[in-house]
């Protein structure tokens, strides 16, 4: 890194994105209007499980302004399904997880049977959206209802209907892993605790629903797709594959994207359908999802049922854990067994536990497909683990905070080997951090443990129920396999950076300008950042899994390093100096110790051009441009400790969070202001999941929370006072010390809230082992419970 300019990394500079967005000049998919553009309305299943007997499109086709109506049967031999394995796994992961995986492919529109309420089976293309929806209403589908498989448990029952005929027992994937002696070590433990936990289904719920536009160019035979997605390169791959086109002829752009949080992190049928329609019709085609469709059809998440057994001694030291769980993956599983893999790998969190055994089944049901959402398998296990710790503490009469301190990995144990493979196939080794210190700080943040326990006692004597909820986690971030970046310096002298990162509000245009400015020692305004456009970087991966800060920065650095070699060679030639005497300084290359001897990057870029006027030394190719792919050695480990004080209103069961503190460590922060917003935003989503948000199904597999009237997002008045304290322990795994942080905030709140409520209601013997934590359940505990006098 250059040392002659003030560093941008670590500064909360104002975001580049802000101006256009606050002026209403952002450009989201819905805002894009192309000449002659047609609009799609999609017809979706109203039954959870049904065979398709016939779909009559005649009436729809006769609507004035309707251009095309199609059902699944029309596409059966035309478009292949989306592969069930959008994410691949390395062999070393498979060796450690013993997986049996048969994730079903997903037809873009099935012709034979429907597997969840919301699954598309027909569509209309029309001159405008109003006409398209009118015509869609006239599509007459005939169905034979089949017995719905409405939960993962129901899917396991002997004789249950099969969601996919080729998957006996409705099992799409089985995983198994262990460390030490595994579950057999439970037998040696002085105490054992067995519990069932359920983490409910909720979802990313970005404020912008999904949307896709495609335009075919008959001159080049190419197609441009604008999609509200987190993964433009995946969309390009799947569109090119489905339409049998060279990837080079498919350009995918994610313009401004109104939130993603994982829900836009894989390829959906509509991404391909719209591209197909545009090519078929030779006119631009637009599909915009409405909120009802989003609730029914955009991926849901969580929905895990755990059977946990913990072995521990008199001191509360946990020696062994058995983690058997099933995932309700809905009708398809777009990222395969990746979430379940995360759940297995993250269960033990920041604790030093010698023996562990996990067994997981990913179940197919007649619910909406399940895909990663902020946390992706971690909130579920943080809930099961952190509840278990509180219950162990209860059994022994030791403070839950103390039990955590006794089990935590100590800083001197770093790097700490867990004994399980991560999803990237590398054996997990926590890289850096001080977990007990994070918990100490979190407890200080709520006023100190001892002070709170005193206050709690006094309050209880006055009939006030206060509780302390604690939740800790670790999070593998910055996962590979790679990210791409192209760096160029053109004749303007500006540093151009393009990466495969696809932001949805993370401030990447700003953050990567900060990173590149530091790498080059230039002013931020001299860095041009291009994101989320496949035409600017050949291969990319995308913004999912808290990965972009680490992986895109790595790629920018790697390509910059190669461009720098040429810059120095050419500058040395111009300055008639030795390369080793040169340094980057403020947009120039200069001779160390000789301030007057320098050449600007603009001059170097012009000297690098091909042609008669160049000033390149012998053997140096023309142009200042390089594309590089950063393949991280493995993940970096972010971590956090959370503590919150909750108060229960015993008359109503209302749960009030008086104060919530998270001590979060994501290594070196690029832009602390952005980082703080990421963690706080995640926390509020976690609190939403803990208390309000739920995708609830009835016994017929109908979604009961299909609008914002029933699916409750947290509002400004629901948010408690939140303090986020950032520690910055650099990761030793990359030159910058970065770890990822997009998801972290959302991981702990369900555990923290449940622990806090149970702590407050300890006199009633409260035990809440499922989410969301509802006021009516709290009230039930109070009404049923006998108050145990202290």
């Amino acid at each position: 890194m250059a040392d002659t300019m003030p560093s941008y990394i670590g500064r909360s500079v104002t975001r580049r994105e802000d101006n256009r967005l606050i002026m209403g000049e952002g450009s989201f998919v819905g805002d894009i209007k192309l000449e002659g553009m047609l609009h799609v309305a999609i017809v979706r299943s109203q039954l959870a499980h049904a065979s398709i007997e016939g779909v009559n499109l005649d009436a729809a086709r006769n609507v004035k302004g309707a251009v095309l109506a199609l059902s699944g049967a029309d596409l059966k031999d035309v478009l292949p399904p989306i592969s069930g394995m959008q994410v691949t796994a390395p062999k070393t992961w498979r060796d450690g997880m013993d997986p049996q995986i048969e994730i079903p492919d997903q037809a873009l529109m099935p012709y034979d049977k429907l597997r969840y309420v919301g699954e598309p089976y027909a569509l209309v293309v029309a001159e405008n959206r109003y006409i398209a929806e009118d015509a869609a209403e006239l599509i007459d589908g005939q169905f034979k209802p089949l017995s719905p498989v409405v939960s993962a448990e129901a899917a396991r029952v002997e004789g249950a209907a099969l969601v996919h005929e080729h998957l006996p027992g409705n099992v799409a994937a089985s995983l198994h892993a262990k460390t030490g002696e595994g579950a057999t070590a439970l037998e040696l433990a002085p105490h054992r605790l067995k519990r069932r936990y359920y983490h409910h289904r909720y979802a990313a719920m970005p404020m912008e629903c999904r949307g896709v536009i495609a335009e075919f160019d008959s001159r080049t035979g190419g197609i441009t797709v604008w999609s509200s997605t987190q993964v433009v390169h995946w969309v390009r791959r799947e569109v090119a594959n489905a339409l049998d086109m060279p990837e080079e002829r498919v350009r995918v752009i994610a313009p401004d994207v109104g939130g993603g949080f994982g829900g836009k992190g894989h390829v959906y049928p509509e991404d391909i359908l719209v591209a197909y329609l545009a090519k078929k019709l030779g006119r631009p085609v637009k599909w915009l999802e409405d909120r009802h469709e989003h609730l029914l059809n955009a991926a849901h998440s969580r929905d895990n049922l755990f059977d946990i057994e913990v072995g521990f001694d008199d001191e509360g030291k946990i020696s062994a854990i058995k983690n058997y769980f099933i995932v309700d993956s809905g009708a398809y599983s777009p990222v395969g067994a990746a979430i379940a893999g995360n759940s297995i790998a993250h269960f033990m969190g920041p604790y030093d536990i010698p023996h562990y055994e996990a067994d997981c089944k990913v179940m197919m049901t007649n619910r909406t497909p399940n895909a990663p959402y902020r946390g992706a398998g971690r909130p579920e296990v943080a809930f099961a683990m952190e509840r278990s710790i509180d219950l162990v503490a209860n059994e022994l009469g030791i403070d839950p905070a103390e039990v955590r301190f006794r089990n935590m990995i100590q800083p001197e144990q770093m790097p700490y080997a867990v004994g399980l493979p991560y999803r990237d196939g590398v054996m997990i080794e926590y890289d850096s951090g001080d977990y007990p210190e994070a918990l100490r700080k979190a407890l200080e943040g709520i006023g100190g443990l001892e002070a709170f326990r005193k206050r709690q006692k006094v309050a209880l004597a006055e009939g006030l129920y206060l509780g302390l909820g604690i939740g800790c986690y670790v999070e593998g971030t910055g996962i590979g396999p790679f990210e791409g970046a192209t760096v160029k310096i053109d004749s303007s002298g500006k540093v151009m950076v393009a990466t495969g990162a696809c932001p949805q509000g993370q401030g990447h245009e700003t953050a990567f300008a900060q990173v590149a400015a530091d790498i080059w020692g230039v002013k931020m305004e001299d860095v041009v950042v291009t994101l989320a456009d496949t035409s600017h970087v050949t291969m990319g991966y995308g913004t999912i899994a808290s990965r972009s800060a680490v992986t895109a920065s790595g790629a920018i650095q790697k390509s910059s390093d190669k461009v720098k070699e040429k810059v120095f060679a050419i500058a040395a030639n111009i300055l008639e100096a030795s390369e080793s005497d040169l340094e980057l300084r403020g947009g120039s290359v200069g001779v160390k110790g000789v301030p007057e001897m320098s050449v600007t990057l603009k001059e170097v870029a012009n000297a690098a051009q091909p042609g008669w006027m160049h000033q390149r030394p012998e053997g140096v190719d023309a142009g200042l441009e390089d594309t590089a792919y950063y393949e991280p050695p493995t993940v970096t480990w972010a971590y956090a400790a959370n503590a919150a004080i909750v108060e229960i209103e015993v008359e109503t069961g209302e749960i009030k969070i008086e104060k919530y503190v998270e001590v979060h460590d994501a290594g070196t922060l690029i832009n602390p202001g952005i980082a703080d917003g990421q963690v706080k935003g995640g926390l509020v989503q976690g609190i939403g999941g803990a208390l309000f948000e739920e995708l609830r199904y009835d016994e017929n597999g109908q979604l009961m929370t299909g609008s914002f009237i029933d699916y409750l997002l947290p509002t400004a008045s629901d948010v408690p006072p939140i303090d986020v304290i950032h520690s910055e322990t650099p990761s030793p795994r990359n030159a910058f010390g970065f770890k990822g942080l997009g998801e972290g905030g959302a991981i702990a709140p369900p555990a923290v809230v449940a622990n806090g409520v149970c702590d407050a209601l300890r006199p009633f013997g409260a035990e809440l082992n499922s989410t969301p934590v509802r006021a009516e359940e709290v009230l039930g505990i109070i009404e049923r419970g006998t108050r145990v006098s202290e």
């Binding site: 104002t14 209403g24 819905g30 912008e208 909120r291 202001g673 008045s717």
Partner: protein, 168 residues
């Protein structure tokens, strides 16, 4: 289907005309007919607040109003806040307080705040939280939004926003 109706109205101080079928939503008219795409559509059932605009001085869900109902009204949308390149004070505060991430809810959030602050004489912190809960943000967790609106209220009322009375 009945015929399109002519609609004339004032948007951001400019007299505009357009045509809409009686069933066309105001938000679609603003976006698709008049090209004012700063106003967004988030739920189409009046809950999320992304489509909020000011109609004759009052915050209004433009997804719950038909275009034909806007005949003769005066509308302020997000595009009308800045004076050329000069940002409205509330827009500046949104950026300063990190009150936006993806920016999709932001136009509706800004219009909700304008109505809340400008149609009241003073606001307590609770008033602001409750008032701003008319619009949903999924990214920020609201902290920056509340700070920005509180700051704006202080500027407008020329005094710190506190006290519990609600004049709204």
């Amino acid at each position: 289907m009945t015929a399109p109706r002519p609609i004339s109205l004032t948007v951001n101080g400019e007299r505009l005309k357009g045509e809409a079928l009686p069933r066309m939503l105001l938000v679609d008219f603003l976006r698709d007919v008049l090209g004012k795409t700063g106003t967004h559509v988030g739920c189409e059932h009046g809950v999320c607040g992304a489509c909020t605009v000011i109609v004759d001085g009052m915050a209004t869900r433009s997804c719950l109003m038909f275009a034909v109902q806007a005949q003769g009204v005066e509308i302020l949308t997000v595009e009308g806040l800045a004076d050329g390149e000069a940002l409205h004070p509330l827009q500046k505060l949104f950026s300063e307080h990190r009150a936006l991430q993806c920016g999709f809810c932001t136009p509706g959030m800004l219009m909700t705040a304008i109505d809340l602050v400008e149609n009241n004489n003073s606001l307590s912190e609770d008033d602001i939280k409750i008032g701003m809960s008319a619009a949903l943000c999924r990214c920020t967790g609201y902290e920056g939004i509340i700070k920005a609106v509180t700051s704006y209220a202080e500027q407008v009322y020329d005094k710190p926003a506190r006290g519990k009375e609600n004049n709204g």
